[in-house]
């Protein structure tokens, strides 16, 4: 695909920024396939406490019991062969705080992806995960002074059990779905963040996830706790080189926003197109708290991701802003869930998808307002743009609303490129591809603006590149 010709429906994708990998040289390798010994091996390498091993083994049992949800999801999930995946790979080196200390090949990987520049430019802290383990982690000194904790999951559970254990696995229990159970059994890496009461982290914290090895599954686990009145923005990016065999990324992200706290979680997903990206993300918002998921899915072969907010406290607010670009051979199955459990809670879902060539974009959503909650409001908008005649889009929303004081509004529309717009631009000298690219950028522009500036510029560029060769 990368050599893509310009025939209609074929894309010339630019994956050059992420499509490279270095020779594999791992000190710890759990081998291929999944069983209780693999789980014990991971737990032992990480030096975990017995309760955590028990948690992992219970999750493995649950994973084996559960079936793939192919009665509603893509049948492609059955192509995943869990016996051929490597579940833990690590270089066995300590996480570095100084960029100069990072091993040369890992450093070169992240330097090619621009991580250090971004950190210097605008980040409050950064964590870079290379396969199973975090390779580099750094945070600005003043935040440490304020008591902000930003570590990887292993360190978080070891050093701060009193903070993290309370919420770990509570927002997304191991029984939630097959892939959260898998993650719970073999998780490694991911960020643990705690922002103390009233602390407002002004610059974003960032994590970067990188898969380097073939047939490898990355299972990071992230838990973010914003204490009362705290605020933070967290951003994650991800890439992988393109290998011949499929790669699995199955993360679990749990957010806890205590009274009056605000969490904004931004994701730009640009995995290579043979990655199965099956992620469970959920946040719990207490009284007056706000959780906002800003999600952009450009890469992967198949993505299944439905960020959720459980609005547990009165007047809590949840928001999901989602952009999905499904190119040839890709299926972006994304959406959002809003569970209103308390009075006066509000939520907003904005989703835009673009399907190119035979790409398929699906929106799956749930808005649930229980009968005991009063004066809840939700607004959902899903717009889909189909570029080529063989593109596909689906919308599968579910709305459950009880009581006369709650209100829900849902609307979805599907359209094609406006021929008049294209004609207008072409008349003024733009090539067809440029005109289409500009039109697509215009379609998603409202949502791209919601991303932090550095990301929105990057997003626009990515969309332009993805559109290259889609028409002609």
């Amino acid at each position: 695909m990368s050599g893509g010709a310009a025939n209609r429906g074929d894309l010339n994708l630019d994956r050059s920024s992420g499509d490279f990998h270095y020779a594999e040289d791992y000190a710890y390798d759990a081998g291929v396939g999944l069983n209780a010994d693999v789980v014990r091996y991971i737990s032992k390498v990480k030096g975990e406490e017995p309760w955590l091993l028990e948690f992992r083994l219970k999750a493995l049992e649950q994973f084996e019991k559960m079936k793939n949800p192919t009665h509603w999801a893509s049948k492609k999930l059955d192509e995943l062969d869990f016996s051929k995946i490597r579940y833990y790979l690590a270089k066995g080196e300590k996480r570095r705080k100084s960029w100069d200390e990072v091993p040369e090949d890992v450093k070169m990987t992240f330097e090619r992806l621009g991580v250090p520049e971004q950190e210097r430019a605008f980040l409050a802290g950064v964590e870079a995960q290379f396969d199973s383990e975090s390779a580099y982690s750094n945070m600005k000194a003043h935040l440490e002074k304020d008591g902000v904790i930003f570590v990887d999951s292993t360190e978080g559970l070891k050093k701060y059990p009193e903070i993290f254990r309370k919420y770990f696995g509570k927002i997304i229990p191991i029984t939630d779905n097959k892939y959260s159970a898998l993650n719970s059994a073999v998780f490694s890496g991911g960020s643990f963040i705690y922002v103390p009461k009233g602390v407002k982290v002004k610059q974003p914290l960032q994590a970067y996830f990188r898969i380097n090895a073939e047939s490898f599954g990355q299972f990071e686990r992230t838990l973010i706790i914003a204490d009362e009145g705290a605020e933070l923005m967290y951003m994650e990016g991800c890439t992988a080189p393109r290998f011949e065999t499929g790669t699995l990324h199955s993360a679990v992200v749990e957010l806890v926003a205590l009274r009056g706290a605000k969490i904004q979680y931004v994701t730009v997903q640009n995995w290579s197109d043979n990655v199965f990206n099956l992620v469970t993300k959920r946040g719990m918002a207490e009284e007056d708290a706000q959780i906002r998921w800003v999600d952009c899915n450009i890469g992967s072969g198949i993505t299944m991701k439905y960020p959720a907010v459980v609005l547990r406290g009165e007047r809590a607010r949840g928001e999901v802003i989602s952009i999905a670009l499904a190119n040839s051979g890709q299926h972006q199955d994304t959406g959002a869930k809003m569970i209103h459990l308390a009075d006066g809670t509000t939520s907003n879902i904005l989703s835009k998808s673009v399907s190119v060539s035979d790409g398929r974009a699906s929106y799956r959503g749930l808005v649930h307002m229980s009968g005991s909650a009063k004066n809840c409001r939700n607004k959902t908008e899903c717009d889909a743009l189909l570029i080529n005649s063989n593109s596909r889009t689906d919308t599968y929303p579910a709305i459950v609303c009880s009581g006369s004081t709650n209100s829900v509004q849902h609307e979805a529309s599907v359209s094609k490129l406006d021929e008049e717009q294209i004609f207008y631009m072409r008349q003024r000298g733009l090539g067809e591809a440029e005109a289409v690219s500009l039109s697509v950028n215009g379609f998603v522009n409202d949502l791209v603006k919601e991303f932090p500036l550095e990301y929105s510029v990057e997003l626009r560029r990515l969309i332009e590149l993805e559109m290259e060769g889609s028409v002609g």
Binding site: G371, N390, T393, C401, S402, T405, S407, H410, A412
Partner: protein, 396 residues
């Protein structure tokens, strides 16, 4: 020959009914349904001929069956044609006669893909009628379908010839203690037109399953309006398959106050280009009433220039009412305009205030708003007298 055909259909349907499991949550189209009402435990008393005693002898007081209007009439009582005045331009056949004269149509009617309860319906292919309007003909017909047996099965197959027109007014009544399984199939040939107005009324102790399939030929047109005043559990399926340049407009209004779930499932399948479809579901839910709506718009790869819309609006009249909706879009063609909308809200405070300021009581104001909410569902029905009569009955 007809007996042979009907027996073959019945045998195949019996086998199918046994093979297909009872609905489960895994089935996208039964996702929100009250599965308990459709479980084997719930249905067994009906099949054993011992449905609940309560309401078995209930009558529909104040409900005159004579809807008036022009044209002929036909009455189906538990699937048997008991009375008919065939209107000019139309022909009515019993199931046996239809199998003799139109074997292909009868076979097609029973071979429509469906679930367990469609198979149940086809186990009795001898119960029902076939209505035919010849090429270029025009007819008006009042059809009453009454269910009183513990398991009451009926099938209505309607064949419209090229360029023909049928105005069909349909009243369904299901008495307490009856499980009514009704299947209607409308086959519209090129350029034909169907105006269908249906009033469905069932006792609190009845269980109603109804499936209506519309197979629209090129340029055919359907204007469909349904008023649901079912007190018991009911499931309503309306499926539209549209050929080139066909048009379908379906509006369903459900008024519910009892604790049963009104389960509505619709589909708009566009396989060919240039067709237009619109489905609007409106429900006014009071008491413990529930609405479970699943709607599907599917546009195939060749269906260019399709215009397809779907909406579901629930008006919540009580704190205990519940609305569940799943409007689905599956679009595989880019030159289309499709959308769906779904809202759940209570009557507007401003509207209520306006009317109460002008002297209306709370109940009257609310009733007026609900009536206004319902009226748009009947906009495309040309017989205004009938619409007024039905609305008067619904809001009596």
């Amino acid at each position: 020959m007809s007996e042979g055909l009907l027996k073959r259909i019945s045998d195949a349907a019996k086998a199918k009914f046994q093979d297909i499991p009872f609905p489960s949550r895994k089935d996208e189209y039964w996702r929100f349904a009250d599965l308990e009402a459709w479980s084997v435990d719930s249905l067994l008393p009906y099949f054993a001929g011992r449905p609940t005693e309560e309401g078995c002898n209930g009558a529909f007081e104040d409900l005159e069956f004579d809807e008036g209007g022009g044209g002929g009439f036909a009455t189906l009582f538990d699937g048997q044609l008991v009375d008919a005045d065939v209107p000019r331009g139309a022909e009515i056949y019993s199931a046996g006669a239809a199998a003799e004269k139109f074997p292909e149509a009868v076979e097609k009617f029973h071979s429509m893909r469906g679930g367990k309860f469609d198979a149940l319906n086809s186990t009795r292919p001898d119960a029902g009628i076939l209505i035919r309007v010849g090429d270029g003909e025009s007819a008006e017909l009042n059809l009453k379908i009454i269910s009183k047996l513990p398991v009451s099965i009926a099938g209505v197959c309607v064949l419209l010839g090229r360029g023909s027109r049928l105005a069909l007014r349909k009243t369904n009544l299901a008495f307490g203690g009856s499980f009514s399984a009704l299947k209607c199939g409308y086959f519209l040939a090129e350029g034909s037109k169907l105006e269908l107005a249906s009033l469905k009324y069932s006792s609190k102790y009845a269980l109603c399953y109804e499936r209506e399939d519309f197979d629209l030929g090129a340029g055919a047109d359907v204007a469909d309006a349904v008023a649901l005043a079912a007190e018991g559990h009911s499931r309503q399926e309306r499926n539209f398959a549209l050929a080139q340049n066909a048009r379908a407009d379906s509006r369903i209004f459900a008024l519910a106050e009892s604790d049963a779930v009104r389960d509505i499932r619709t589909s708009q399948i566009h396989a060919e280009g240039g067709a237009q479809s619109n489905v609007e579901v409106r429900a006014a839910l009071g008491g413990l009433a529930g609405l479970a709506f699943t709607g599907l718009i599917r546009v195939g790869e060749r269906a260019v220039k399709t215009r397809s819309y779907q909406s579901c609006r629930s008006l919540m009249l009580s704190d205990t009412a519940k609305s569940q909706a799943s409007p689905i879009l599956e679009i595989s063609c880019n030159d289309v305009a499709c959308s769906h909308g779904c809202t759940v809200s209570k009557p507007s405070d401003e509207q209520m205030f306006y009317m109460m300021q002008r002297g209306l009581g709370l109940g009257d104001a609310e009733s007026l708003i609900v009536r206004g909410f319902a009226e748009t569902s009947f906009e495309r029905i040309s017989d205004m007298e009938l619409v007024e009569k039905w609305l008067g009955r619904l809001f009596a």
